[in-house]
């Protein structure tokens, strides 16, 4: 076992042990915090596929997060007001049923990622960063002025949506659901890396010319990675909306895109458990530093700087050493 495997196992154990302790000690807020960390980790795990394996620096992943959130918000809004989403040509009612909401979130964010990907992948480098940012801003301004669904105010959903066999209003049950999703996505990511697609994608990032020589289209590979990445982040958005029982345009903001990116870099770019380490650390910092001083952003900024300047591999790199993962 490498140190990284040990570290990952410890992280996973923590994600199970801490909420378990919280249930026994009757500290439901700790579970809420842990849920937040797990959902943010899921969003970051999505970005990590584009960023870590595909080398696509997207500063617009909040688009997918927001689309997932609004999928939940719009469907649940219609369900709780007993109105239809659409009356013509088909009648589409709202729903409070999580699996359906997730499916809608997945399909819509996949479509958005496909369109944005096709257009953005014509560019590279700094241009790619900026065009994804521009798409984020478009969605942000659109959501702010979309008065049918709350505009800037967003939408509140009074009761968390349902999942068969679970009472999602009990914090630990909802947490379990989110953790299960995260684990599934991590397993998927791990297999993706070792699959021919992942290897080819890695090559597309490092030596695109060689890939073209064997008749593969690096842009198409990157597009597929971008869509997969967007779908996972979109799913995280739907869960995040359910955690807060609330959606708003701030889910689309460029600052949020930046935050997801911070999670990935903080944890270690391209590391399987990097997003998890990053999200857990970020949520813990936010919680504890915020309690110490109003000006906690200064400390957060200094810590991030320290990571970039002195710990290039992020937290995972710091703890588990700089060894490159074996693809």
């Amino acid at each position: 076992m490498t140190r990284e495997t040990l570290f990952n196992a410890a992280l996973l154990l923590g994600l199970i042990a801490v909420p378990a302790w919280a249930v026994l000690a009757d500290e439901p807020f700790t579970i809420t915090l842990a849920t937040r960390a797990v959902i943010l980790a899921l969003a970051a795990a999505g970005l990590n596929i584009a960023l870590g394996i595909g080398g696509l620096v997207s500063l617009g992943h909040a688009v997918f997060f927001g689309i997932g959130g609004y999928a939940m918000g719009i469907l649940a809004h219609h369900a709780q007001s007993y109105t239809n989403l659409m009356d013509w040509p088909f009648v589409i009612p709202g729903t409070k049923f999580m699996p359906v909401i997730w499916l809608v979130a997945i399909v819509t964010s996949a479509l958005a990622a496909l369109v944005i990907g096709i257009l953005s992948l014509r560019t590279t480098g700094a241009y790619f960063i900026m065009i994804t940012l521009a798409f984020g801003q478009m969605f942000f301004y659109f959501a702010i002025s979309w008065s049918a669904y709350g505009g800037e105010d967003g939408m509140s959903i009074y009761v968390r949506n349902s999942f068969p066999g679970l009472n999602t209003l009990v914090p630990i049950q909802f947490y379990g659901l989110c953790l299960a999703m995260l684990v599934l996505v991590l397993i998927f990511s791990a297999r993706l890396r070792r699959a021919p697609f992942g290897l080819a994608l890695n090559a597309a990032r490092q030596v695109p010319a060689r890939l073209e020589a064997v008749g593969m289209d690096p842009t198409r590979l990157k597009l597929v990675a971008f869509v997969i990445s967007g779908v996972i982040t979109g799913l995280a958005g739907a869960l995040f909306a359910d955690l807060n029982r609330f959606v708003s345009p701030s889910m689309f903001s460029w600052q949020f895109s930046g935050e997801i990116m911070i999670l990935v870099i903080l944890g270690g770019v391209g590391r399987l458990f990097g997003p998890v380490a990053g999200a857990v650390t970020f949520v813990a910092l936010e919680h504890f530093l915020g309690g110490i001083t109003e000006f906690w952003h200064i400390i957060l900024g200094l810590l991030l700087l320290a990571v970039v300047l002195f710990a290039r591999g992020g937290i995972t790199g710091l703890i588990a050493g700089k060894e490159v993962r074996h693809d």
């Binding site: 500290e27 809420t32 807060n244």
Partner: protein, 376 residues
């Protein structure tokens, strides 16, 4: 712990009506660009709490960074781990919409020190939700009434393109009787208004109503003053509060604005509040501070009368509004929003400080447009 408190409260009931300790959670904006509003809210609220000098009230204060998801998370924390009885302090409507419905559904009391969106006043009203400030439309309605009273016939109106902006222009139109020379929605967060000012100049208007809170208002006022357009301006108090005026300077002098409070409002409670606030914090209070102060005093008055764990009794005690408001006469309408006067103020310069003085009353004993929609 909760059980124990309730048990002890029950035994103490023999001696006094209210013996339970009350824990208050304040969620407000203390960092970032909007921090000045939250800081004033907190300072006004804590001034009243500290003046009361009681040991049975505990206030937990947290910073929402003006982000809805953080506000929700803080509300969860206050409800789940701090076990507060009352929540208060949110400045912004979108954050209030994220927190209030869930909090009242879980049986907490929410006392609004500022934001009071239409949804929570009409169909979404709740017996545990009280707005001590106003209903969001009130100041805009007051401005509309004033513009009509002042005899303007052709007003140009503008507001940012977001729900509060739409509510603002609708509220204005509800009491304004003349024609509109133009109706413009600007971008939220816009900093340059040259294009809109040119439209105003070309529109043939005889007056301008604008709702541009925070930095947007500062930018608009400075640019308007420099443009050479000299039509009279009217706005709600948000663009003319004590902190913003100092950043606008001379550009605001003479502008009329509608407000439910002013530092020169003539009543004993207000005089005491302004003096105490200035002494403690070394600056003049803003409307947010006044609303925070009133909220705390209302809460104190209810704690004296009823046990916070008895929803019905505590709600009734709040609804009685048995406290000396710095706004003078104050009572609650059926939907738990204030019935109060809306005044017209004018911006003046007092020594080196820019401030407001009352020059008239736009609406007397005004409630709000949503009372009938509220089924409680």
């Amino acid at each position: 712990m909760k059980k124990f408190l309730m048990a002890s409260a029950a035994t103490a009931l023999l001696a006094s009506a209210a013996a339970a300790d009350v824990k208050v959670g304040m969620i407000t904006t203390l960092s970032g660009g909007g921090a000045s509003l939250g800081i004033d809210t907190r300072d006004g609220f804590m001034l009243a709490i500290e003046a009361a000098g009681r040991s049975d009230i505990e206030v937990v204060i947290e910073d929402d960074q003006q982000k809805p998801d953080i506000a929700v998370q803080l509300a969860d924390k206050m409800i789940q781990s701090e076990k507060v009885d009352v929540l208060t302090g949110i400045v912004w409507s979108n954050l209030a919409m994220a927190v209030v419905p869930a909090a009242t559904a879980q049986g907490l009391f929410y006392l609004s020190t500022n934001a009071a969106p239409a949804q929570l006043a009409g169909a979404g009203c709740n017996a545990n939700y009280f707005a001590i400030s106003y209903q969001n439309d009130n100041l805009h309605e007051g401005a509309g009434a004033y513009v009509a009273q002042a005899g303007y016939k052709n007003t140009f109106i503008l507001a940012p393109n977001y729900p509060a902006g739409h509510d603002s222009l609708n509220g204005f139109k509800r009491f304004y009787t003349g024609d509109l020379a133009g109706e413009v929605y600007t971008q939220l967060g816009q900093t340059d208004y040259a294009a809109e000012i040119a439209q105003i100049r070309a529109s043939g208007a005889d007056s301008v109503f604008f709702f541009l809170p925070g930095g947007m208002g500062i930018s608009f006022l400075k640019q308007y003053a420099d443009s050479g357009v000299d039509l009279p301006l009217v706005g709600p108090a948000f663009s003319f509060d004590q902190n913003i005026l100092q950043a606008v300077g001379d550009a605001a002098v003479g502008v009329k604005n509608s407000s439910t409070w002013s530092k020169d409002l003539d009543n004993a409670a207000n005089a005491a509040f302004v003096a105490a606030y200035q002494e403690k914090y070394g600056r003049l209070p803003s409307i947010y501070a006044a609303q925070g102060y009133d909220t705390a005093n209302l809460l104190l008055s209810a704690i004296d009368k009823a046990d916070v764990n008895d929803d019905a009794a505590f709600g009734a005690a709040l609804k009685a509004a048995d406290f000396a408001s710095v706004r003078g006469e104050f009572s609650f309408a059926a939907n738990n929003h204030p019935i109060q006067n809306v005044y017209v103020r004018e911006v003046i310069k007092e020594g080196e400080i820019f401030t407001n003085k009352i020059v008239g009353t736009a609406l007397e004993d005004h409630a709000n447009a949503y009372v009938d929609e509220c089924k409680m």
